[in-house]
């Protein structure tokens, strides 16, 4: 097709970098706002500084690492269930 040669926004690695930097900026700003905005807390754990930042980051890393380990036990070929179905 004609548009195969057309360059798109993320074909330029600089634009990808920009997105990543924007994410760093958002993370930094939201973390700093922890000192500015008084958070109403329902639970003592919540009052820890950067609680949600740390929890979000750690939860996702643990999730991915655990899922990677799970793969070693659970992963099979694509035709695992079809193999002896007939």
């Amino acid at each position: 097709m004609a548009d195969k040669d057309q360059t798109h926004v993320f074909d330029n690695p600089r634009n990808v970098k920009r997105v990543i930097w924007a994410l760093y900026a958002l993370c930094g700003t939201s973390a700093l706002l922890d000192f500015v905005i008084h958070r109403h807390v329902d639970h003592p754990w919540e009052s820890t500084v950067f609680f949600y930042c740390i929890y979000g980051f750690v939860a996702c890393v643990l999730l991915v690492l655990a899922a990677k380990e799970m793969r070693k036990v659970l992963m099979r070929d694509e035709d695992y269930y079809e193999k002896d179905a007939d």
Binding site: E46, G56, V61, L63, R71
Partner: protein
């Protein structure tokens, strides 16, 4: 259509049934108009019903409460009309009568179930849900889909049979057929047994852990449009049924938290992107089940409003992946990527769905999911709250980032296709608009909830904490991806609880079948050999050459008689 309106209010499923019959008889644009009119007429019909409206049917001496209108059933009623409308718009390009008709009948069955006032009526629609929806999987018309549809049907019908058994025991014990609060009772009593059986039947349709694989097995095998319908109705009918009969049942808090947690691990390593969404559907239903288990006004409001939002944003995500499958014939993350170049609108709508399911501020998940989480904290379920928070970060990870990233961005797969058909784009656009509207202006949705809402979603603290959670989850994804730790998308199957009935049972049956066949063969052989021996013996004596069958000459006969007489005479001599 007019006749339904002039008749006054009618049961909602009747309108969908009539629409399905008309759709069978028509083609092309006329059918499209009829199908679009069905949910609109249905919604007006619902709107025209007075509060507390009840419709009763009689069969012989039995009374059926065909329609019971209250805030809870009305909310799900409107939701299902909306979902049906969006699903129909999404499937207008099809020329497939099977899918159109079964889609309408399936939506109608869901409406029949939520408006049912007694357990027997509920059972009838419960089974109709199973039968009508199976055609949306069969319509894929592949051997793989046919097998998945059969497995799906067996489990769904099993749920119906358990419901019927439980309902009959329950009705006998309590003396009425009312579909109302049931709760769990001591299973040693008849009442308790009934309550547990009904609970399990609801649990199967609701995807309780270990009973959940029918969904992840069948939904990804359905047609691109079929999955959009499937994702809206069956599980939400089950959520409604739990809210109606088991609100405040504590075990549901833990079941819900488990449901919210475990599917996200499978979603991270799953390659089929519609199966990723199927796992994330269970994860979202987990939040609802948890809310129902807590059972307070805030928690049930949260569960029900989240069901509403989930139908729209999960439908939207399934639509975007359906559009990808429709255009590229591929759905595995390992084969896709870079589609934002060919399908920019679909990409945009998918991102709105992803933001909504991740509960970004201003998107619909933000205003409903947090109600359940606040309720969990208020009632001292600290660990459950932590689990739900983990699941919130996880859902952003697999549904919010993984789905759009691997389909539309990641590495360029080189696939260049057309943008989704116009009707699909309209359906996605409408869904996206509803996601943003409910997220930014939740008060319309809040006014429809079963209990008065005192919850304020937009506080500085809530906006900030949720943003922090999501931004840092994204940061984790970014870091894992850039450092190469993130597991690549691989063509594979991951074993789940379904291995029991898809692998172990068949193997067991084959194994025991072998033993039975061997014993059976040996017994048959021995019996045959014995019979053969008997026949040979009989043949020897009575066969043509046999002694007993020999024909003798008359004179020899006389000779033997005389000989016998002579023998007797000799004996007589001996006597004297």
């Amino acid at each position: 259509m007019g006749s339904f309106l002039t008749m006054g209010a009618t049961a909602p499923f009747v309108i969908f049934l009539a629409g399905a019959i008309l759709a069978t008889a028509t083609r092309g644009h006329i059918r499209s108009v009829i199908m679009l009119a069905v949910p609109l007429v249905g919604a007006y019909n619902l709107y025209s019903m007075p509060d507390g409206f009840v419709m009763i049917g009689m069969l012989f001496d039995y009374r059926f409460d065909i329609l019971r209108l209250d805030k809870l059933s009305l909310l799900f009623g409107y939701l299902f009309h909306l979902a049906a409308f969006l699903g129909i718009v999404f499937s207008l390009h099809l020329r497939d009568t099977t899918q159109h008709v079964s889609g309408l009948l399936y939506a109608g069955s869901a409406l029949g179930a939520v408006f049912a006032g007694d357990l027997i009526t509920l059972f009838v629609f419960w089974e109709l849900l199973a039968v009508t929806s199976a055609f949306l999987i069969l319509a894929r018309r592949t051997e793989r889909a046919r097998r998945a549809a059969m497995r799906y049907l067996i489990i769904q019908v099993l749920s119906g049979v358990i419901l019927l058994a439980g309902a009959l025991i329950w009705i006998d014990a309590v003396g009425n057929t009312d579909f109302g609060q049931i709760g769990l009772h001591d299973p040693a009593t008849a009442k308790g047994l009934g309550s547990w059986l009904i609970f399990i039947a609801f649990g199967i349709k609701c995807c309780f852990p270990m009973l959940h694989n029918w969904l992840t097995d069948a939904y990804p095998e359905a047609t691109p449009t079929g999955t959009v319908f499937l994702s809206a109705f069956t599980t939400k009918v089950a959520v409604y049924a739990l809210a109606r009969s088991y609100a405040g049942t504590e075990i549901l808090v833990y079941i819900g938290a488990t449901m919210a947690m475990f599917p996200i691990f499978f979603a991270v390593i799953e390659n089929d992107l519609r199966r990723v969404l199927a796992y994330s559907l269970i994860n979202q239903v987990g939040f609802m089940v948890c809310g129902i288990g807590i059972g307070t006004a805030l928690a049930v409001n949260g569960a029900v409003s989240h069901a509403f939002n989930d139908v729209v944003f999960k439908g939207l995500l399934f639509m975007s992946m359906g559009a990808v499958l429709y255009r590229t014939n591929k759905i595995n993350g390992s084969e896709l990527g870079g589609l934002y170049k060919s399908m920019p609108w679909t990409t945009g709508f998918c991102i709105v769905g992803a933001a909504s399911i991740s509960a970004f501020p201003l998107f619909s998940g933000f205003v409903s999911k947090s109600m359940v989480m606040v309720a969990a904290l208020e009632h001292g379920y600290s660990w459950v709250w932590l689990a739900l928070l983990f699941a919130s970060a996880g859902v952003f990870h697999h549904a919010g980032i993984k789905i759009p990233f691997f389909a539309f961005f990641a590495h360029d797969s080189g696939i260049r296709c057309k943008e989704a058909p116009l009707n699909m784009l309209i359906a996605m656009g409408l869904s996206a608009a509803i996601c943003i509207f409910n997220g930014s202006y939740p008060w319309v949705l809040y006014s429809m909830l079963p209990f008065p809402v005192e919850y304020a979603p937009y506080t500085w603290a809530h906006v900030l904490t949720q943003s922090q959670l999501l931004f840092f989850s994204a940061l984790a994804f970014c870091w894992l991806k850039l450092s190469g730790i993130y597991p690549p998308e691989l063509p594979s199957v991951n074993i789940d609880a379904e291995v029991v009935y898809r692998k172990l049972f068949p193997a067991l049956i084959r194994g025991t079948g072998g033993v039975i066949a061997a014993v059976d063969g040996a017994v048959r052989m021995a019996t045959l050999r014995m019979l053969d021996g008997c026949i040979r013996e009989i043949r020897r004596h009575h066969g043509p050459e046999g002694f007993m069958a020999k024909t003798l000459h008359l004179s020899s006969m006389v000779f033997w008689v005389v000989a016998a007489l002579a023998f007797v005479l000799v004996l007589n001599f001996a006597h004297f």
